[in-house]
Symmetry: C2
Subunit: 389 residues, 2 copies
Amino acid sequence: MIRISEAYTIIENHARPSHTEKVTLESSLGRVLAADVKSDMDMPPFNKASVDGYACRKEDLGRPLKVIEMIPAGYFPKQNISAGTCSKIMTGAKVPDGADCVVMVEFTSEENGFMTFTGTTTSNFAIMGEDAVKGQTLISAGTLIRPQHIAVMASAGCTRPVVFSSPSIAIFATGNELVEPSAIPGPGQIRNSNGYQTLTQCLNAGFNATYQGIIPDDPDITYKTLAEATEKNEVVILSGGVSMGDLDFIPSVMEKLGYRILFEALKVQPGKPTTLAVKDNRFIVGLPGNPVSSLVQFNLIGKKLIYQLCGSPYEWESYSVKMAETYSRKKTERTGFTPVKLNANYEIELLKYNGSAHIQALPVATGFLMVHEGIAEIKQGEYGTYRPL
Amino acid sequence: MIRISEAYTIIENHARPSHTEKVTLESSLGRVLAADVKSDMDMPPFNKASVDGYACRKEDLGRPLKVIEMIPAGYFPKQNISAGTCSKIMTGAKVPDGADCVVMVEFTSEENGFMTFTGTTTSNFAIMGEDAVKGQTLISAGTLIRPQHIAVMASAGCTRPVVFSSPSIAIFATGNELVEPSAIPGPGQIRNSNGYQTLTQCLNAGFNATYQGIIPDDPDITYKTLAEATEKNEVVILSGGVSMGDLDFIPSVMEKLGYRILFEALKVQPGKPTTLAVKDNRFIVGLPGNPVSSLVQFNLIGKKLIYQLCGSPYEWESYSVKMAETYSRKKTERTGFTPVKLNANYEIELLKYNGSAHIQALPVATGFLMVHEGIAEIKQGEYGTYRPL
């Protein structure tokens, strides 16, 4: 049984991005940058008005100033400012040479071609190169691309960013007790929820994943199915079949396929029987069968592995949040995850939770309280580690 | 100039979802449920073993028990447990009648068909109906569907959820100073970053949006373009063209198209000139032209409007987070947003930020510090309102 931090070190040592590719700006969303994005010019590329108003000389503000030009954004000023003159200027336009300030239109009046300043404060304008200089790195390789990065790449003319290739991911559920959601479960059966949960977690993160069905509890069928899936996909994710029952032959199938098991038990509650196996930078992830365990372990281990293969460090987002009530537990040997919700005061409220099969506890949960090893209680008013869903 | 809360009330009073549709389970991700999802059976549907082990009677544990059956998950037990007997059982299988406990396989030994209990604690099993009873509402209408909801719908056999229809969204940038990212800006020009930033924010949230280009500063072209776009889309989003310059004729174009302006200035820094106009549950959103303003206001106003049209209440995620250093500002009349990052201790660190045009400040930002109206300073060690990016 290993700790999350040990599992993370193992993943970091074994999983690495393989190829890079150029994609369109829009389709780079959610991918990981493989090369720095640099500025191809000074930003702003000229002294730029930040308000609508008049560009002039500060020392002239006490008298009416002759308006010599109107400078809309997108046009270059034709005239310089000299004593006694000003130019009307729009937000985003280049400030004409000779001007050392811009006054906001709201603090002026204009009559017969002369502007009078009626306010008390002038505005600064943005100085050429103050945001970035030509050649400066704007976004570093390894950055997970979000909309703000798209904006910065657009501003720098980077329309075909180089990103790491995404691994192809195949998702299976395992177990004779499972039927697909469209079926009515027979005696002793339940519906498969993990397949669709894992698939939509992948889709939500922008991963390249498909759900491929339920594998029955049969070593030969499991071997054949995994042989084909591991051939075609860099990552195969299974749920179920990895605890200690007589029918949990999946670890032996992994080994028969030439995969080496990196770990098969995590010091985490729920989700102890989480397995990771590797063969030449290809991976099989065995998630637990209980749906809450499976969801927690996909966030902890599955995402860590996939982001690592995509070239990005990953850490489940984490906040230190005040407890609205006291949490306590009996067993403390594992790091615990219990579903909670943030209330209107942004404090942690506990939810009714029957254990790792109780997926019905989650529709109103906003995240999990993570309780560190050895900790039995977090009192009301203390701070707990909150990991949002 | 109105407050965010007032803008939200206006949006809630004017924007409502229009139609509903049935979609596949997988494509319901990111949509909003239009009808409650109820359980079609008790969950679990039978008393279910939570561990691999033996089902037996507690009072019998002191002696070797005859193993009368092996019950894999997915099969119904054929025999009841009576005094002196037990059945081997796998996680997820139905506990046979007569048994009142399950003991974990790790705490047992089996020899010659008899099981001896070697541990000190027994496990409970999950009681039929403890997670949900038949007919119980599992997920309420109005819920934004995330992977955990997909799992719950799968478990309840809800494979064609009823969701609200998504509005069609058209995105434009405005301004003669803009060129597309693939072009080299001429004198006085800059590249359009807002169009792609807004587009990918929409795509990231799963909205149905397209970017449709730059509209030049010309009232006739603007009128024609918006007439067509508003005909074909429920929401039209513009960036730029909504401050006080002589060329900011967009509000008058909105009115000429029969739209009523609901607000045109927000008490927010950056992003004061944010405009919302309505006509028969169709909307035009005017975002500011500066890229940081545009990003903040899309999160505040754009998302609120679109989620409302999708049937979901929306609030930009918010956490109370400790300041790693002191933040201060001079002007306090507006609610401020400044880019920050969470450090390794989950505390707020400030970033170099030149103002609302400084989109290059954002690649390392993890979110914004929101500073309430009237507040000039938040000291190191105090808690600030953090809104993640």
